[in-house]
Symmetry: C2
Subunit: 359 residues, 2 copies
């Protein structure tokens, strides 16, 4: 049975403004590698396992062309725009339909992300192979869980009934919404919880059957999607898709399904959620700073200083501690490092002022 | 007897980098007024008292043309470049010589600064009139002292023997170098000390006679300067000037002279020494920020955010406290507000790297 990779790449990445823009979100930035954008890294990581002909990107209409341009070596028809902005359950139903149409039947499907940091590609591929193998043999929905390293309140958690062991697949007891700090600490201490990474593995037939069972308003439309696709009926597909509910795969399918398993990740992982994430994955200078571009950073500690100006421009600091400074051609952003989550507030405020020219 | 104003404007103003540059130092910036540069303000302030024909600017060779350009309404011949970089004693000896040559004899001379904040021009002119009047009647060297408002360690102090009263001239006991914090506090509490503002008032004959007495290596050359000037012998003047000692008027003349008096300033004053000074003289927003140019400042307090970019560029901040952010076309500078004194370290480092293009 052939395996496909589906990379979800529709995110807008507002937290990396002013470097990220509506048409150049996080997944198109070189945040984790000087040479490759995050989506290029995502493809390079998985390609030794699955050829790029079977790597699909699902994104938004506005990002389809920028992503095609950014990935000249990927077949353009593998970059698929959602006909309307829906959540991950309709998005993956569409991917399921596209794969079944191409394959003329059942196939294995690995759902990966475009904008996360993966610290060890070899271990990552090993874990994918374990997950796909288990999904194929057991008609199961398999997810990848990240062993938590801190009581993070920004992620969902996966509760595992048994004890968790590397290279072993565990049965999922339940999915937990983002917890409070107290609860997150209990989760981490218990050793029975993993972070929900948003990566999934299943046979297309399994996903379709489970969706028909637990989310019929989406699952029952997959065959129709395939029909529209095979007739090239984009309008029909568009109106079908627009009528689907806005529901996530986690909430709509994984939490409701029975045959759900998890592989604990054996690689370093980070969701690269905001500017402060850079210090967890980029080399630091002697004063624990992340420094990029033409800069002069003096008596500065624990800071992130990024000069992405395309012209002749220097970014200098002195006497800073735990500050983020990002400079582009048309915008500068400065915030305390523990406030990087709030960069999206700047984006929201600029949008309210009609400043789409710099968003 | 005619009165002349001599504005000393040779400072390089490195602490206001990246807005200040070698050819555009502090005195040419709009730091204290949106409409006028500091040197324009200095002239506008004193012009109701003394016509601009008798206002002289003494500056460096490199700044002569930029200052002439910045002051189209001042006679260009009133902008005088020091033939060599010396300290204030030779500089004011030269000014004395220029004035005596123009006047054909004795005149009154008010030495003012180009780059200080003066909060009330009317009071300022009243104090100048008091000082000039006293200098003329008493053949005295008169200085203007600023009543201290904090135990500042960055200024010199003037010790007054008697008690200090507004609109009254006091005899100076001694000049004190920059004190430690403890000593500065004693000075302020005693009520017998004033800050040395670097403003002086005297008859040219008085200055010349006192200089001949207490600083003969400069005072004895004033007549020669006048001779060179009257023959248009710039080379002769240059080599004479280059041979003069590098000594300040405070140390070389004021501290050694006997007939020294001080007028306590009746106006708000600030030396505008570094970026943090802006908050003492510019309107603050509700969160105590000074904000200039195209900016979006969110949840930011006590900060100075200056966007001096000439193109389309926005400077945004969120979650900052007591930070200075300055953006120009070719350089960005970010520092903690209590480290603004150290901006000159950035300039020094850039100079060491040969980056004169941005200095």
């Amino acid at each position: 049975m052939n395996s496909y990779v589906v990379i979800m790449a529709g995110g807008s990445g507002e937290r990396f403004w002013p470097l990220s823009r509506m048409r150049k979100p996080k997944q198109l930035l070189h945040l984790t590698s000087p040479d490759l954008s995050m989506i290029e890294e995502a493809i390079a990581r998985v390609e030794p396992l699955i050829p790029r002909e079977r790597i699909l990107i699902i994104t938004s209409e506005v990002l389809r062309q920028p992503i095609i341009n950014a990935l000249p070596n990927l077949p353009a028809e593998n970059v698929i725009a959602e006909p309307a902005k829906r959540n991950t359950a309709p998005c993956l139903a569409l991917a399921c339909s596209v794969i079944e149409q191409r394959e003329g039947g059942d196939a294995l499907m690995a759902v990966l992300t475009a904008d996360h940091f993966i610290g060890n590609a070899k271990s990552f591929r090993k874990d994918i192979a374990i997950a796909l193998h288990y999904a194929q043999d057991n008609d199961a929905l398999v997810t990848m869980g990240i062993p938590p390293t801190r009581p993070e309140t920004g992620y969902g958690y996966i509760h595992v009934a048994e004890s968790i062991a590397e290279d072993e697949v565990s049965s999922v007891d339940s999915f937990k919404e983002k917890p409070t700090f107290e609860i997150a600490r209990e989760y981490v201490l218990s050793g029975r919880y993993l972070w929900n990474s948003g990566m999934f593995f299943w046979r297309t037939h399994t996903l379709r059957d489970v969706m028909i069972d637990v989310l019929p308003e989406v699952g029952n439309r997959i065959a129709e999607m395939t029909t529209h696709k095979s007739h090239g009926d984009e309008v029909g597909l568009g109106s079908l898709f627009a009528a689907l509910p806005d529901i996530s795969i986690d909430y709509g399918v994984m939490e409701r399904a029975k045959n759900v398993f998890v592989v604990p990740a054996s690689f370093p992982w980070d969701d690269v959620g905001s500017w402060d994430a850079l210090e967890r994955m980029q080399p630091l200078d002697a004063d624990r700073n992340v420094v990029q571009g033409a800069t002069l950073v003096m008596e500065t500690t624990g800071s992130v200083v990024v000069n992405a100006h395309s012209g002749s421009h220097i970014v200098t600091t002195i006497g800073l501690e735990d500050v983020v400074v990002v400079v582009t051609d048309d915008a500068t952003m400065v915030c305390m490092k523990d406030r990087t989550q709030d960069v999206k507030k700047i984006v929201t405020a600029l949008r309210a002022e009609g400043r789409d020219d710099i968003l």
